[in-house]
Assembly symmetry: C2
Homo-oligomer: 362 residues x 2
């Protein structure tokens, strides 16, 4: 049981990407005086991009992390509905108004939406300026803040417009999870479970044993869950930064999950909730045995996450997954399991089974 050993110092994971390598620093109390961000800034000026929910809680603290710098800030409206080009344009306007230049650093303070928009703005402003991720939700800490995927939604599809743009450092203060609503904490646990399912059955076992501690927000349990998740993500990203192949295993449960979100309307189900139900559908499509399927289902239920999709209808789901005639011709690619702890990306799947899984959910 690795987590039972108390670690006195910060946990640091390096994302190895040559000259784009960067550390993920994990610890409790890093915001405020706990960590000096200055060595990671491109210059002495930065723009903190946050939102109306997170800024009142943590903006003052981040100011201490960049003490002595010239700091501007902008608060975006909160929610996936605002992850748009228009919101990104408001960040550009703020950058221009504050005469930001190539040496300015953008600091994303918030959840996945803030990180995706701020990162995309950093990727495009003057064709790329430095940025730093300070994720404050579990989902952002274990997933969206690591790996350099940035972007916004198009009315017709999620994350259709974006860029790969790696941060200079990811600063994870696990104390920010103290203020996270229960439902969002659980949604983040869906991605944590995902890492066990696709890459580490030992970690899956650890999660089974420690799910009650995680739900009770035991600091050490949360820190270890974040650490192990980031380790797995860092390893996958280092091997395939631009998702030419293997990185797509991180999409396990997401093809179904995105379709659920799309059909329900974004925001009704949280991303993690849709991914939880989606992982079970993907596991079934993988053809893993019923023992393994039940094991994953039990863990998802233990995290108080949905184990079944909402009633949407097979046709609507298929359409949302892009399975119209045009894409059927090319066949869709799924992240599927060989077994728990081992995933692959493949277009070899059982179409009849896929339809049965979707129809069963009606």
């Amino acid at each position: 049981m690795r987590y039972s050993i108390r670690m006195p110092t910060n946990r640091i994971i390096n994302v190895e990407l040559g000259d784009r390598s960067y550390p993920i620093v994990i610890g409790r109390g890093l915001l405020g005086g706990g960590f000096d961000l200055q060595p990671y800034l491109a210059g002495s000026e930065c723009l903190v991009v946050s939102n109306e929910t997170v800024a009142p809680l943590y903006l003052d603290k981040v100011m201490v992390n960049v003490h002595g710098c010239s700091v501007e800030s902008i608060n975006l409206p909160d929610g996936e509905a605002f992850k748009t080009i228009e919101t990104t344009a408001s960040v550009f306007d703020k950058l221009v108004a504050s005469k930001a230049n190539r040496d300015t650093t953008i600091i994303a303070l918030g959840g996945g939406v803030v990180g995706d928009i701020a990162g995309f703005a950093a990727a495009c402003y003057m064709r790329g300026i430095a940025f730093i991720q300070v994720p404050t939700t579990l989902l952002a800490q274990v997933d969206s803040s690591v790996g350099g995927k940035t972007g916004v939604n198009h009315p017709q599809g999620k994350n259709l417009i974006g860029a790969f743009h790696q941060p200079r450092v990811v600063l994870i203060d696990t104390a920010t999870l103290d203020t996270l609503p229960d439902r969002e904490l659980k949604a983040g646990l869906a991605e944590v479970i995902k890492y066990g399912a696709i890459a580490d059955v030992t970690f899956l076992g650890w999660l089974e044993q420690n799910m009650p501690a995680l739900l009770e927000r035991d600091p050490d349990a949360l820190a270890y869950a974040v650490q192990r998740s980031c380790e797995i993500k860092a390893e996958v990203v280092a091997a395939d930064e631009r998702e030419a192949g293997r990185r797509a295993i991180l999409n396990f449960g997401h093809t179904f999950g995105h379709a659920i979100e799309h059909c329900q309307g974004y925001g009704k189900w949280l991303h993690g909730e849709a991914v939880a139900a989606g992982m079970l559908m993907a596991a079934e499509l993988s053809g893993v045995g019923s023992v393994e399927l039940s094991r994953l289902r039990r863990l998802i239920r233990a995290a108080d996450l949905p184990s079944r999709p909402p009633a949407i209808g097979a046709q609507k789901m298929l359409a949302a997954m892009g399975m119209d005639k045009k894409v059927l011709r090319k066949t869709l690619r799924f992240a599927l399991l060989h077994r728990l702890g081992e995933a692959t990306v493949t277009s070899e799947y059982d179409e009849t089974l896929l339809r049965r899984i979707l129809e069963a959910a009606d």
Copy 2:
């Protein structure tokens, strides 16, 4: 006289950028049946991005270059005023509507504005899809289509929003110059002259001798001018893709030129015209001798390009160059000449001389 040797085949220049390397293919009659673009497509689907001026002339021909593929097209409004995020969003809408995916290739058919927007859309759609440049203006052929700079304007600044995204091939059919208005041809020659001024005094001599032939649109003269310009640009870009340093010598004349365009309102002076006047201001700031300065001035006049900026006023020009208090503190960087044929990027310049140059233009 290299150009006097007739070259029977296409001229090919390779831009050496590791796994992002690509050829620039130059020839007369490449559009239509003259060159097969299919080997450069990511898949069998493409979107041709053009404008309302160029499409009626050349869209049918490009269709032959990608014969057998599934081709969609979109025509943007013509002009620098439309180089905006909003126009880029219309390209995203078209991509989504035609169910474009990671294997779709964007083909930019037109001048610099079309290439910059289409390239930026390709950089961002699904975090990056393939694209091809088919430049139809001299300016685009010798400058903007090569090197991977893409992007759009912000109301407060030119090219503020963009990405580095290299094309898979640049296809230059010099026959497209037949339909180019005289004024645009001359504006393109300003960038051609720039290459001689910053990197090749022999080429500058060739330009002096062949300027009449170029203005008369002698096909061989134009082809050689395009070839030598692309060779120089390819070399500079290969050495410094992301403009960490040396690539900025390509901005010779542009700091002044952009300020002229900005103060005049974009479109009044063409980019090349502003750069022509800007190069002489930059040459003067460089402190090159009067013989060299006169030589450059004569060549610019021989191309029927402006050798003096319009009456704007030193204060307005300084402000447009970003020389307010904030940037003065950091000092501006200029591309300056050691001598004709040799440039450098420096923040060491004579501020008094700068003011005198700007005041002389009042």
